[in-house]
């Protein structure tokens, strides 16, 4: 019982895209200790992405490699959640310019971290031994990511007037993107059918509990969500992923066939 490559790519794309985003803080963090911590979080995600792409490459066979999958697939082939590709600021179009906002970074890491502790915990028990091994390693990291983000979210929510305002704005901005977590993609369904994946819908109650508890401690309000459900994991993204991939893939694509 092994998970299909498309499902592993979804997990890998999530990790690489959020790793790429979080690394943008390197050298610009709000305090040196946080600069180092966010670098660590980013490094964990890039490490997860590498293991997952390597596994996907093995399953795809042919000339697939870790770097071909990360650098030579186009936007519509990426299967990450839309949440993870958004820039570190409020709702703005793809080519708008804005200062990075640490509250947006923290809220996103929190919402996604709360999901991934549940996903990796389930996948650690997967009969797909390769995936289970990656899940076991990633679970330890995800617990730290969630802990780190939740600590800051509480400090922001229950800190100053400004930090509360920024945290609430980030929660309001990002919460609707989490709806995407709960609508399975073809790849997720296939992984479940193969007996190797996890049905995301089964994780919702536990996710709600983590999120509600922390928001309450942070004196923040969970917004009502309705309307559009993002579809990044189906390959239909926001305007932001193209810029992210353009920057990430540009050098590698300028030298196809080169070894680094």
């Amino acid at each position: 019982m092994s998970a299909p490559a498309e499902y592993i790519l979804h997990l890998a794309d999530n990790a690489v895209v959020l790793g790429q985003r979080n690394a943008e803080w390197c050298g610009h963090g709000p305090i040196l200790e946080e600069d180092i911590a966010m670098g660590n979080v980013s490094l964990d995600y890039i490490g997860q992405a590498r293991l997952l792409y390597q596994l996907a490459a093995t399953r795809l066979g042919g000339d697939a490699t870790e770097d071909k999958l990360a650098y030579f697939r186009d936007e519509t082939q990426f299967r990450n959640y839309t949440l993870l590709e958004l820039p570190h600021n409020g709702p703005l179009v793809g080519y708008a310019v804005s200062d990075r906002d640490y509250a947006t970074t923290v809220v996103r890491n929190f919402l996604y971290g709360a999901l991934m502790v549940l996903v990796w915990d389930a996948l650690e028990k997967s009969p797909d031994a390769d995936l289970a091994a990656i899940a076991a390693k990633s679970l330890k990291e995800a617990r730290y990511h969630l802990h780190h983000a939740a600590d800051w979210l509480v400090r922001f929510g229950d800190g100053t007037e400004e930090s509360h305002r920024r945290a609430q704005a980030a929660v309001d901005h990002l919460f609707p993107y989490t709806e995407e977590f709960w609508t399975p993609s073809v790849a997720e369904d296939a992984a479940v059918a193969a007996g190797a994946g996890v049905d995301v819908r089964s994780l919702r109650a536990a996710w709600d509990a983590i999120v509600n508890e922390t928001l309450s401690e942070a004196t923040l309000v969970r917004p009502q969500v309705r309307g559009y459900v993002p579809e990044g994991k189906h390959g239909r993204h926001s305007e932001h992923l193209g810029y992210l991939l353009g920057e990430m893939q540009g050098l590698a694509r300028a030298h196809p066939g080169a070894t680094w």
């Binding site: 943008e24 963090g29 180092i36 650098y71």
Partner: protein, 337 residues
């Protein structure tokens, strides 16, 4: 990463600085001198002359600032690293530089200067940092060349500092040196792979070497004859080997490495001198070096303004953490009452 010679005075050009006359207690001074002469360590709680304390704060904070500013030229390539392996290595490396900054600020704090005071010195432009970071990183090979040459030069400078007379600084340097050696080997390995690659990759490496070679030689600081603080630093065991000696050691070690790599070092005067048993090298452009030290290099303004912006933009985050901690303390007090 590292600052050029610690004998570059903050807030001053290459002009000589008058020696500080000693008005210290002669008995304490004698005990201090005896400890230094016996190659012993001075610890934070020990008495030390004010000039020693001031010199160390300047030296360690310059070093810490260099680590932090040095995150920027390399950080410039994280988002564009051409493979995931190289991206991970680069993030880890830049993170190590941040960690070095952290130990060094902590070491300087043991001398009674707060991190806030040191950052104020950096942000106001009063405190110096290594000029090497005021040059742009223009192609991916710059990342490898920074590891090989800049960290290589740093190691030459830093190994003697592991025996520095001030305990907290020497202990911090032991750890810093281990990580820098690792960075240097990683940088060199990345360049070896590129040199075995395509013509375009080899051209990137040569271009980066051409731009950075002379800046690395200048990293060791002005020639001994023009280095006003060196003599005192040597006497105090803060500086162990002179600028020119270190520079020569670096050149001698690097030439064979460049041969293995297959790059040309951009100096027509570079040749083995049988009599001296050292490589001779050409004239360093000190005018250009001092221009950059004084704030007028290609990237000084960008580097400094970026540090200031990160600090200012992060103010609300630090305020929130403090406000939250205060609230928690108040709640705990209320509960206890």
């Amino acid at each position: 990463m590292y600052t050029q010679s610690f004998s570059v005075p903050d807030n001053a050009g290459q002009k000589n600085v008058a020696a500080v006359p000693s008005t210290e207690n002669p008995e304490l001074m004698a005990a201090f001198d005896a400890r230094i002469d016996a190659d012993g360590r001075i610890e934070p709680q020990d008495w030390m002359p004010e000039a020693y304390r001031k010199t160390l704060v300047r030296q360690i904070s310059q070093h810490a600032h260099s680590e932090i500013v040095g995150m920027l030229p390399e950080g410039n390539w994280i988002s564009r690293a051409p493979s995931l392996k190289r991206k991970a290595i680069l993030i880890a490396k830049v993170q190590d530089e941040g960690g070095h900054g952290l130990y060094l600020y902590s070491a300087a704090e043991t001398l009674g200067t707060s991190r806030d005071q040191m950052l104020e010195g950096l942000h106001s432009g009063k405190a110096k940092y290594s000029s090497i970071f005021n040059y742009p990183t223009l192609n991916w090979a710059d990342v490898g060349v920074i590891g090989w040459l800049v960290d290589g030069a740093a190691i030459m400078n830093q190994i003697p500092l592991c025996r520095c007379s001030y305990g907290p600084y020497s202990r911090a340097m032991v750890r810093v040196c281990k990580e820098e050696s690792f960075h240097q080997r990683q940088g060199y390995e990345a360049l070896l792979v590129m040199m075995q690659g395509t013509e375009a990759q080899r051209a990137m490496v040569q271009d980066a070497v051409n731009r950075l070679w002379w800046k690395c030689l200048a990293m060791f600081g002005p020639p001994d004859a023009d280095s006003p603080n060196s003599a005192q630093g040597m006497r105090w065991g803060i500086k162990r080997i002179s600028n020119d000696e270190l520079r020569q050691k670096f050149v001698d070690a690097t030439v064979p490495q460049a041969k293995v790599l297959g790059v040309t070092l951009p100096d027509p005067d570079l040749k083995w001198n049988e009599e001296r048993q050292h490589y001779d090298y050409g004239q360093i452009d000190w005018q250009e070096f001092w221009n950059t030290v004084e704030g007028n290099g290609p990237c000084n303004k960008e580097r400094l303004a970026t540090r200031v912006k990160a600090h200012n933009d992060g103010q609300w985050v630090r305020d929130a953490a403090l406000a939250y901690t205060r609230k928690q303390q108040q709640r705990a007090q209320k509960e206890a009452a």
